[in-house]
C-alpha cells in the first residue's frame, strides 16, 4: 500500500504539469481577447496598448514559463507570507498572477475570497443531500416496488431531470416573490456574529442549498438504491439471513456496508465539484462563489484567472481520485494495492 501510494503520488506530478500545459495552450490559442469586452468606441491602437500592458504580446513559451513560476513559486511564497505574517526575500517585487479583468488584483486573493461561500453553500447542499439520499436509497431498495420506492423514484427522477436554473427560478418566484420568506439576493457582506445574523445566513442559504441538495440527493439516492439492489441477492446475505439474524441487522451490518463502498467513492469523487461550485446556482442567487468567479472570468476573457481556477480544479480532481482509490482499498478488503 505504501509503495503504491508513493508511486501514485509521483505520477501526479507529470500529470499535473501536462494538464497545466494543455490548459494554458488551449486558452492561449483560443480566439478571444480581453479587450473585446471593452466598449466599441475604444480605438485599435489603444486596445493594443492595453494588450501590451497585460503582457499579451509575449511569445507563448515566455508566457507559460512566467505563469509556471508565478503559480508554483511566487504564489505559495506569498501564501506562506500572509499566513504566518513573515517576509521571505523581496516579497514586494515578487510578481504574482494578477487578473486581467480586475487589473492589479492577485488571482489567488480573488479565489481565497470566494472559497468560504462556495464551501458553505455547496458543501452544505452536499451534506444535506447525503443525509437525505442514503436513507431514502436504502429504504427504497429493501422495500423495492413499495409505495415509498415508487414515490422516491418519481421524486428522484424529477430532481435528476429538472435543471437547477429552473428549480432555482421556481423557488425564487414561490418563496421570494409570492411568500417573501427568503431573500433572493445572497448578501455576501453578511458577518455571522450573533444568533440573528446566523438565522439570516441560514435564511439566505436556504434556497441555493435546497436547489443544489435536491439535485445531488436525487443522484445519490438512485445510486444507493441500485447498489443496495446489487447486494441483496448475494450469497452472503442469504447466509446471514439463514443464520437467523434480524432483517435490520443484515441490512445495516452486511448489505449497507457493502453497498456503500461505491457510494463513498462517488461522494469522494464529487468533492472537487463542491470546490468548483455550482456555476448556475451561484449565478441565479448571486452567491459569490468559485463558480460565479469562473463564469465571470470567462465572460471577460480574464485568461490568468480562468487558467488558475481551472488548474486548481484539475489538481483537486486528480487528488480526490487518488483519495477515492485509497478509500476504496481501505473499505473493501477484497481490493489490495501492491
Amino acid at each position: 500500500m505504501g509503495q503504491y501510494l508513493v508511486r501514485r503520488i509521483l505520477t501526479i506530478i507529470p500529470t499535473l504539469i501536462a494538464i497545466s500545459f494543455v490548459i494554458f495552450a488551449v486558452l492561449d490559442l483560443a480566439p478571444g481577447d480581453p479587450t473585446s469586452a471593452l466598449p466599441e468606441t475604444i480605438r485599435p491602437e489603444i486596445r493594443q496598448q492595453i494588450r501590451k500592458a497585460m503582457g499579451l504580446d509575449e511569445p507563448f513559451p515566455v508566457k507559460y514559463g512566467l505563469w509556471m513560476r508565478q503559480f508554483f513559486v511566487n504564489e505559495p511564497l506569498s501564501l506562506i507570507e500572509n499566513a504566518f505574517d513573515i517576509q521571505i526575500g523581496d516579497g514586494e517585487k515578487r510578481l504574482r498572477v494578477t487578473s486581467w479583468g480586475s487589473r492589479g488584483v492577485p488571482v489567488m486573493d480573488m479565489i481565497l475570497e470566494r472559497v468560504p461561500q462556495t464551501l458553505w453553500v455547496v458543501g452544505l447542499a452536499y451534506l444535506v443531500a447525503i443525509v437525505i439520499a442514503v436513507p431514502i436509497g436504502v429504504i427504497s431498495a429493501i422495500r423495492q416496488y413499495s409505495i415509498f420506492d415508487q414515490v422516491g423514484t418519481f421524486i428522484s427522477l424529477i430532481g435528476y431531470s429538472i435543471p437547477t436554473f429552473f428549480t432555482g427560478l421556481l423557488m425564487i418566484l414561490l418563496f421570494s416573490v409570492k411568500l417573501k420568506w427568503f431573500p433572493m439576493i445572497y448578501d455576501t457582506n453578511l458577518q455571522v456574529v450573533d444568533w440573528r445574523s446566523f438565522v439570516e445566513q441560514l435564511r439566505q442559504s436556504a434556497m441555493p442549498v435546497a436547489v443544489l441538495g435536491f439535485f445531488q440527493a436525487a443522484i445519490l439516492a438512485r445510486f444507493t438504491r441500485s447498489s443496495m439492489l446489487d447486494n441483496i441477492p448475494m450469497d452472503y446475505v442469504r447466509t446471514a439471513t439463514a443464520k437467523g439474524f434480524r432483517e435490520r441487522y443484515v441490512v445495516i451490518r452486511h448489505i449497507l456496508r457493502n453497498s456503500l463502498i461505491p457510494v463513498v467513492t462517488l461522494i469522494a469523487l464529487g468533492i472537487p465539484a463542491i470546490f468548483s461550485g455550482a456555476i448556475i446556482t451561484e449565478q441565479i442567487f448571486r452567491v459569490n462563489g468559485l463558480g460565479a468567479l469562473l463564469i465571470g472570468a470567462i465572460q471577460l476573457n480574464d485568461i490568468p484567472l480562468v487558467q488558475t481556477v481551472t488548474f486548481i480544479f484539475a489538481c483537486l480532481i486528480v487528488v480526490f481520485n487518488l483519495i477515492a482509490d485509497v478509500i476504496y482499498g481501505i473499505l473493501d478488503p477484497r481490493i489490495r494495492y501492491s
Binding site: A37, P44, E113, V177, F182, I185, T188, R286
Partner: protein
C-alpha cells in the same frame, strides 16, 4: 454488538429529522398568520434603523474595479462614479454641468481660447479627498499623465487624444493645450469616464506598475458623496458617506453596489420583492417588465443617449459572383445594381412602421426615429420626421412613378431587368430577428423580396479579417445594428467621410460601412472640424445628418435607450444616458 448498530440507525434517523426540521423551520414561522408577519416586518424595520440607511444598487454585471481607467465596462465606471468625480458632468439633457470645476469654460467667458487651442479649468475652493487631504490642480495633471502613459494600458485614453499638455497654472487652475484647434474641448475630465484620481495615492502606479497596485485600484480615494470601504472583486462594493464631500452631505449611511446574476432577476429584486433600490440595464422583454412593474413596488425608467438601431444600405455590389471584389468600393466603379437608385431605399423606408417596432419590440428602451443623430436635442434635425408614419401606398406609388415595376407578374418588382431581391443580415438576437421579420413582411407588400440572415454576435462584430460574415465586410445588401455618437457628434460623423470606406486595402478598417461617398458631406464635415460649439455647429450637424439620411445610406429605425428600475420610495433619481447612471447618487434619498 446488535445494540451498537441499532443506535447507529437512530443517529441516521435523528440526522434526517434534524435536516427536515431545518428545512421546515423558516417555513413554519410566518405560517402563524398575518399578524405575525406584520410583527416580523416591524422588527425588520427596527433592525434597518439600527443598521442605518442603506441604499442597495444592483448591477447584473459585477464591477471588476471601481473606476474607468483600468477596466472599460459601464459597471466599473459606475462603481467608480459613486466616489470619483470629474471636473464636470453631462446632465440627462446632454448639457455640461460643473462638478469639481467652478464653471464651464467657454469662448465667451475666456475659458476657451479664440484659436480653440487651449481650455482653462478652475477647481472649486477647499476641495478635499475622502481621506481629508487637499485636492489640487496637480491631481488633474497627474490624472492626464496616468492615463496617457502608454504602459498604463488606460481604457479611457481615447478622451485624452489630441492633448499636447496639461499644466497646473496655480493650485486651482489647469490649462489644457491641444495639438490642433479643437472645436469641442470637453472630452477630457468631463463625464464619469475621466474622473480625477489622487496624485499622492497613485504616485507609484503609473505605467506598467498600474498592474501591481492592488490596493489603490480597488480602493481609490474620491471626492464624491460616498467613499469606498470594501471592494470584493466581481461581486460587491460597499461605500459610506464621505465626510469631506464638497456638496451637501449624502442621505444614506451605506451604499451597497452588488453585482452578478441576470437582468430579469435584477428587475424582479426591485419591482417584485423590493430587496434592492435600483437595478441597472434591464435587457428584459418589455411585456415581462410591464408585468413586474404592475406589482406596484417600483418604476421602470429609461435613459437615452445617442444609440440608433438602423439598417445600412450597401452602396456597392455584394454579389457573390464578384469573388474578392464583393462590396469593394473600387473608386465608385462597383455600385449596387439597384439600391443606389434613391427611390428604392426611400420606398423601403416609407414602408416601415417604426412606432410598431419600438413599442412592441423595444418597449421602455426605444423610440421611433428618422435620424442618425437623435440627440442631444439641439443637434437633432426635424426635416425627416415624415418617416414616422408608415406609408405603404405612398411607397408603391413612388416605385411605380419611377418605373420600378413588376413586369413579369411574379410579385417582385424589377429595376433595369434586375428583380429586387435583397439579403439582409444582422446579429443573432431575438429582438433583431423579430425586426427583420417585420421588415420583410412590409417590403414584400411593395414588391421587394428579402432573404434574412443572422450571425452570432461574436462573429458579426468580431472583426476577424478571415471571416466573410463580419459587419465590416458587409457581403449582403442590407445589414442592421446599433451604434451612436458621443455627446459631441463629430467623432461619430467622421466615420462617414469617403476615406473611411472599408476595403481590402485597409483591412476593412474604416467606419463608412455602407460605402457611400458624398463630396458635399466631406466638405461640410471639414467645416465642422473648425466650427466651435454654438448655433453654426448645430446647423452643420443637422445638415450632415440630413445628407446621410436623405441619400438613404442608412435607414434609421429606433432610438435606443437603457432601461433601469427604481423603488418608488427612492427619490432624487435622474437617470442619465450621457453620463453614468450614478452621476447624481449624492442626491438620492427616501
Amino acid at each position: 454488538m446488535m445494540r451498537r448498530h441499532i443506535s447507529y440507525l437512530r443517529v441516521v434517523a435523528l440526522l434526517l429529522t434534524m435536516a427536515l426540521l431545518l428545512a421546515a423551520c423558516p417555513a413554519a414561522a410566518p405560517a402563524g398568520g398575518e399578524s405575525m408577519a406584520a410583527d416580523e416586518e416591524m422588527a425588520e424595520e427596527e433592525a434597518m434603523e439600527e443598521e442605518g440607511k442603506v441604499l442597495t444598487i444592483l448591477y447584473w454585471q459585477a464591477a471588476s474595479l471601481p473606476g474607468p481607467y483600468l477596466s472599460g465596462g459601464t459597471k466599473d465606471q459606475d462603481a467608480g462614479a459613486i466616489t470619483l468625480e470629474p471636473l464636470a458632468n453631462y446632465d440627462p439633457n446632454g448639457t455640461i454641468v460643473p462638478r469639481l470645476a467652478v464653471e464651464i469654460p467657454t469662448i465667451e467667458n475666456g475659458g476657451v481660447s479664440e484659436d480653440l487651442m487651449t481650455i482653462t479649468w478652475t477647481l472649486k475652493e477647499g476641495l478635499l479627498w475622502s481621506d481629508g487631504s487637499n485636492v489640487t490642480s496637480e491631481d488633474v495633471v497627474f490624472t492626464w499623465q496616468y492615463c496617457s502613459t502608454e504602459e498604463t494600458g488606460c481604457t479611457a485614453s481615447e478622451a485624452f487624444l489630441g492633448i499636447e499638455s496639461v499644466e497646473a497654472i496655480d493650485d486651482r487652475t489647469i490649462r489644457i493645450t491641444f495639438d490642433s484647434p479643437t472645436p469641442y474641448p470637453y472630452n477630457a475630465f468631463v463625464g464619469a469616464n475621466t474622473p480625477i484620481i489622487s496624485s499622492v495615492q497613485f504616485a507609484d502606479c503609473v505605467g506598467a506598475a498600474a498592474q501591481t497596485c492592488n490596493e489603490q485600484n480597488t480602493a481609490p480615494l474620491g471626492t464624491g458623496p460616498y467613499r469606498i470601504i470594501d471592494f470584493k472583486v466581481n461581486d460587491v462594493a460597499v461605500y459610506e458617506r464621505n465626510p469631506h464631500y464638497h456638496g451637501d452631505p449624502a442621505y444614506f449611511d451605506t451604499v451597497i453596489f452588488k453585482g452578478g446574476g441576470d437582468a430579469a432577476s435584477a428587475a424582479r429584486a426591485v419591482l417584485e420583492t423590493g430587496e434592492a433600490d435600483y437595478a441597472w440595464n434591464l435587457q428584459v422583454e418589455p411585456d415581462i417588465l410591464r408585468d413586474m412593474e404592475a406589482a406596484g413596488l417600483g418604476t421602470v425608467i429609461s435613459a437615452f443617449a445617442g444609440y440608433v438601431e438602423r439598417v445600412l444600405v450597401n452602396q456597392t455590389n455584394p454579389h457573390s459572383d464578384l469573388g474578392d471584389d464583393r462590396s469593394e468600393y473600387m473608386g465608385g466603379d462597383n455600385p449596387h445594381p439597384f439600391l443606389t437608385f434613391a427611390p428604392i431605399p426611400q420606398a423601403m423606408s416609407m414602408a416601415i412602421d417604426r412606432t410598431l417596432i419600438s413599442e412592441q419590440l423595444y418597449g421602455f428602451a426605444g423610440q421611433p426615429t428618422c435620424n442618425v443623430i437623435p440627440a442631444p436635442l439641439h443637434y437633432v434635425s426635424d426635416s425627416n420626421d415624415a418617416c414616422l408614419t408608415q406609408d405603404i401606398d405612398g411607397a408603391n406609388a413612388l416605385l411605380d412613378e419611377n418605373g420600378v415595376l413588376d413586369s413579369d407578374g411574379d410579385g417582385i418588382r424589377e429595376y433595369n431587368g434586375i428583380p429586387l431581391k435583397i439579403s439582409y443580415q444582422t446579429s443573432t438576437n431575438s429582438v433583431r430577428q423579430k425586426t427583420q421579420a417585420l421588415l420583410r413582411q412590409w417590403w414584400l407588400q411593395i414588391g421587394i423580396e428579402t432573404e434574412l440572415i443572422n450571425h452570432d454576435a461574436s462573429v458579426f462584430f468580431g472583426g476577424d479579417p478571415n471571416s466573410p460574415d463580419t459587419y465590416q465586410k458587409f457581403y449582403t445588401d442590407l445589414q442592421m445594428y446599433t451604434t451612436g455618437p458621443t455627446i459631441d457628434p463629430q467623432q461619430h460623423l467622421s466615420n462617414w467621410i469617403c476615406e473611411q470606406i472599408p476595403m481590402r486595402g485597409n483591412s476593412w478598417g474604416g467606419g463608412n460601412i455602407f460605402r457611400g461617398c458624398n463630396v458635399e458631406y466631406d466638405a461640410l464635415f471639414e467645416q465642422l472640424t473648425q466650427t466651435p460649439v454654438g448655433p453654426d455647429r448645430e446647423a452643420l450637424v443637422k445638415q450632415l445628418n440630413d445628407i446621410n439620411v436623405q441619400s438613404f445610406y442608412q435607414i434609421p429605425l429606433v432610438y435606443r435607450g437603457e432601461v433601469s428600475a427604481q423603488l418608488n420610495t427612492l427619490k432624487g433619481v435622474w437617470i442619465n444616458g450621457w453620463d453614468s447612471q450614478m452621476w447624481n447618487v449624492g442626491d438620492w434619498h427616501r
